[in-house]
């Protein structure tokens, strides 16, 4: 079961990586072309997000008919439902960083498939941001964390 779970994780990651690269979202120029509504606006990202959300909505509905996942004892879903200050502040800060450079975490990590000089600056800084959060709040230290979303 463990081996099956690991193989399934790898396969899911592969699909995700192919999807990101195919959609163009691993190129920050493409992402900023969407966020730049005052320039030559490129609505492609709407199609990426739309396609992903439609497939996942249908897929999740089918999956949740099961009592348990295929290779694990239980579903592990975020339990936090509150719209609070950390959510708003975090999303705001993330959006600011996203709009500055055009990288969100998926494409930033996928950069390792074809690293360039921008990868050298952005990726370690993003990881430093995660470490800084953990160091200043203590959240996520040697625990299974809720922050999987």
């Amino acid at each position: 079961m463990k081996a099956a779970r690991y193989l399934a994780s790898l396969a899911s990651g592969l699909l995700f990586g192919i999807g990101l690269a195919l959609s163009g979202m691993t190129r920050p120029q493409k992402v900023l072309g969407f966020l730049d509504v005052a320039g030559q606006w490129d609505p492609s990202l709407v199609f990426v997000l739309g396609g992903a959300v439609i497939v996942a909505t249908l897929g999740f509905r089918l999956v949740r008919r099961r009592a348990t996942p295929l290779f694990a004892a239980s579903f592990d879903l975020p339990a936090n439902r509150s719209i609070d200050a950390p959510l708003a502040g975090g999303a705001l800060l993330f959006g600011i960083g996203w709009g500055m450079a055009g990288y969100c975490p998926g494409p930033a990590i996928a950069q390792l498939a074809a690293p360039n000089v921008e990868t050298l600056y952005f990726l370690p800084a993003m990881i430093a941001g995660w470490v800084l959060y953990r160091a200043t709040t203590g959240v996520g230290k040697a625990t299974r964390q809720a922050g999987r979303a």
């Binding site: 699909l15 163009g24 490129d42 959300v53 996942a56 694990a72 800084l132």
Partner: protein, 148 residues
């Protein structure tokens, strides 16, 4: 300037949605990249391998696509560095993306794809917030400060 590519965008989105479905179906986990990667930094037993393997797959998938698509594509496929783009902006952006996704518990994939698919109002609020902040910031950087 980027051209509108609805078909590859839609096909890529479908694969991302299929990936999130596959991960939930097989392992019961949410395909949120920032959460999966951040979990690598904590040392909880039994939590490392699946996260690492997912990210190896993520990088491998992008690599495979570049290897097969780049030789035949007419438009740019492989990411390249922007000449003259300020390194300081990349560093500040990276810190903001890291700290922000940790504080807000998710990014484009966790809140944007999986959260919306779960019809979560919390994720919808996060998605609207980071989209609005991203649009406002890009406008500032490109049209006020003048960095392309």
């Amino acid at each position: 300037m980027e051209s509108f590519t609805p078909w590859s965008a839609l096909a890529g989105g479908v694969l991302i949605g299929a990936s999130a479905t596959l991960l939930l179906w097989t392992t019961g986990r949410i395909a949120g990249i920032s959460g999966i990667a951040r979990g690598l930094l904590s040392s909880a037993a039994g939590e490392f391998a699946w996260r690492a393997l997912f990210l190896v797959g993520l990088i491998g998938g992008a690599w495979l696509y570049y290897a097969f698509a780049a030789p035949v594509a007419q438009a740019p496929v492989v990411p390249h560095a922007r000449p003259g783009f300020p390194p300081l902006l990349l560093v500040v952006a990276g810190l903001a993306v890291g700290y922000g996704t940790a504080l807000g518990r998710g990014c484009t994939s966790g809140h944007g794809v999986c959260g919306l698919a779960r019809l979560s109002p919390r994720s919808a609020a996060a998605t609207l917030t980071f989209l609005a902040a991203g649009i406002a910031t890009t406008w500032m950087v490109r049209h006020v400060i003048g960095v392309q």
